[in-house]
């Protein structure tokens, strides 16, 4: 159920992003798509690990996962946004 909602939100977000890029007539390089997809994948895995570990009462593992995967996710997402805006 939660993953279904997550998929809906991510799908809507990506569609909005594509529409925005087209309306702005922006040239998007393949590496921007690649880094963005990587950020999305890593972010999804971070969320999966966090909620799974939390549910398994492994709180430390949950937060360490956020540290080791969440921070790279933010960096990759930031790079993607920067590439899109410049």
């Amino acid at each position: 159920m939660w993953w279904f909602l997550y998929g809906l939100i991510m799908g809507a977000g990506v569609m909005y992003l594509v529409a925005w890029v087209q309306s702005e007539n922006k040239a998007v390089g393949w590496y921007t798509c690649f880094i963005g997809a990587l950020a999305l994948l890593l972010g999804t895995l971070t969320a999966q690990h966090f909620f799974a570990a939390y549910k398994e009462l492994e709180r430390k593992a949950a937060w360490r996962g956020v540290l080791f995967m969440g921070v790279p996710t933010l960096i990759l997402a930031g790079v993607t946004v920067w590439l899109l805006l410049t």
């Binding site: 999966q48 690990h49 799974a52 570990a53 549910k55 009462l57 492994e58 430390k60 593992a61 996962g65």
Partner: protein, 466 residues
């Protein structure tokens, strides 16, 4: 349990506010709150059945239909119907009627009439009728007593059937072995508890005397099964020291296994076969060795079995039978190889009883080890002495093992196959296990506030429902 305190909050001393906080305390601490039900279940003041408490009286338990049924239908009718039940039972077994076959009937009565926490080499039904649990249910009968032929199936069908029955009785992973000349060497020469010899003879039925227990040569198969330990409970250690709380899951597993083995013996008895059990949980044969040979898991630095499903968090049990079974093979999931680099258990052992050597050895440490295999032999005396000192036994090595973890996170679903395929990342995985805090002991008394499944284990793991 109190979820907040108003101590020192003088500004809360207003009568209405304090009463509201008190109510909130009661709601939060209520047993209904910690009982997790679906959101659409409402707690109500009265049940949905109407009750007239003024007219309701205490009931005479002898009047229930199970007890006084013959009085209600008449003695003749009761005798006729009892006979009908017996005849139909036999007839439907003979007809192999789906849902009423010999094995279906055996499963039913092994559930109702067996389940002791005591042990018997031959099985209680071979020894006496004292095992009857429900006097209003039929006693388990052998096919001979019932007047029907015994169960016949191919070894593959029998293995399939035994696995299903054992799962129903509460076992987790199940494997099978042929008791050939190699596997016979894993049966004790002298039984662990009472020193009786264990011998193989060319007889039809197993028997027991004052000095020996005899396994018939025709009993050529071993049923091996695991029963899971509760990870949350066993990790309730006080630092590296075990607690009575953490040890309680081990105790319960042995009791559950004896119960399961009694049911299995009864089940086999009703099919027309023998099931021979150790007269003690560590009796009859070397359980982890049989588990490894049957493919339940691999040997490890702990010098016990680690399985891919439950890590070291299980105990292994065995029953020898003359029901033909299809043997299962040993496995390689990279577990033993992982132990070459991971020494977490040996480092965590409070008395340094486990091997710190890089590779397993042929050299035993003491007479408590059985030579003839290359292993991480443990100092059993140090380990057992520590049990007396800490008063409760010990499973610290099990709790820190990287294989003792749950596996909902995607990371574990990547790590386990990787370990199986290549040892290249084993050192990295061991370090990450520490960094992520998986082997960390939990605060012991916090266990009482958890809402755990039965026996504290994930029973669907490794099954169709996972």
């Amino acid at each position: 349990m109190k979820y907040h305190s108003t101590r020192g909050r003088r500004y809360m001393k207003m009568p209405g506010f304090e009463a509201a906080i008190h109510d909130l305390d009661e709601v939060i601490a209520s047993p209904m709150t910690e009982w997790q039900r679906p959101w659409w279940v409402r707690w109500v003041d009265k049940p949905t059945v109407e009750i007239d408490w003024d007219n309701l009286q205490r009931f005479d338990g002898r009047k229930i239909q199970q007890v006084s049924w013959a009085k209600y239908v008449g003695k003749d009718a009761a005798q006729r119907l009892t006979k009908l039940r017996e005849n139909r039972t036999r007839q439907w077994v003979l007809e192999n009627k789906p849902g009423y076959t010999l094995r279906d009937r055996a499963l039913l009565l092994a559930g109702v009439q067996a389940g002791s926490v005591s042990t018997s080499f031959l099985g209680f039904w071979r020894e006496s009728d004292i095992g009857v649990k429900d006097p209003f249910q039929p006693r388990p009968l052998s096919p001979e007593e019932m007047g029907v032929p015994r169960w016949e199936g191919s070894p593959e069908e029998n293995s399939h059937m035994i696995r299903a029955a054992l799962r129903h009785f509460g076992a987790d992973q199940v494997g099978f072995l042929e008791l050939d000349e190699h596997i016979r060497k894993l049966v004790y020469a002298f039984d662990a508890r009472d020193g009786k010899t264990l011998e193989f003879e060319n007889v039809d039925l197993a028997y027991e005397t004052e000095h020996k227990r005899v396994i018939p040569n025709r009993a050529r198969w071993v049923i091996v099964f695991a029963v899971q330990l509760s990870e949350e409970l066993i990790k309730r250690n006080a630092g590296k020291a075990p607690t009575a709380l953490s040890s309680s899951t081990t105790g319960l597993v042995y009791a559950r296994a004896r119960n399961i083995m009694d049911r299995l013996q009864t089940f086999l008895y009703m099919l027309g076969y023998q099931g021979l059990m150790g007269t003690w949980f560590n009796g009859l044969a070397i359980a982890p060795a049989l588990g490894i040979m049957a493919g339940l898991g691999e040997l490890s630095r702990l010098n016990i079995m680690i399985s891919p499903e439950y890590g070291p968090l299980q105990r292994v049990f065995k029953v020898i039978t003359d029901l033909p079974l299809a043997p299962t093979k040993p496995i390689d999931a990279g577990i033993m190889r992982f132990c070459f680099t991971c020494k977490k258990c040996a480092e965590a052992c409070p008395v340094r009883a486990l091997s710190m050597e890089a590779e397993p050895s042929w050299e035993v440490v003491g007479p408590w080890n059985n030579p003839g295999h290359r292993a991480y032999y443990q100092n059993g005396t140090k380990c057992r002495t520590w049990w007396s000192v800490n008063t409760v036994g010990c499973s610290t090595c099990l709790t820190v093992c990287p294989f003792s973890r749950k596996d909902k996170s995607f990371i574990h679903k990547i790590v386990a196959p990787t370990i199986s395929i290549t040892p290249l990342l084993n050192g990295f995985f061991t370090r990450m296990h520490t960094i992520f805090g998986y082997g960390t002991p939990r605060e012991p008394e916090s266990w009482w506030d958890l809402n755990m499944p039965p026996h504290g284990v994930n029973a669907v793991k490794g099954t169709q429902l996972e």
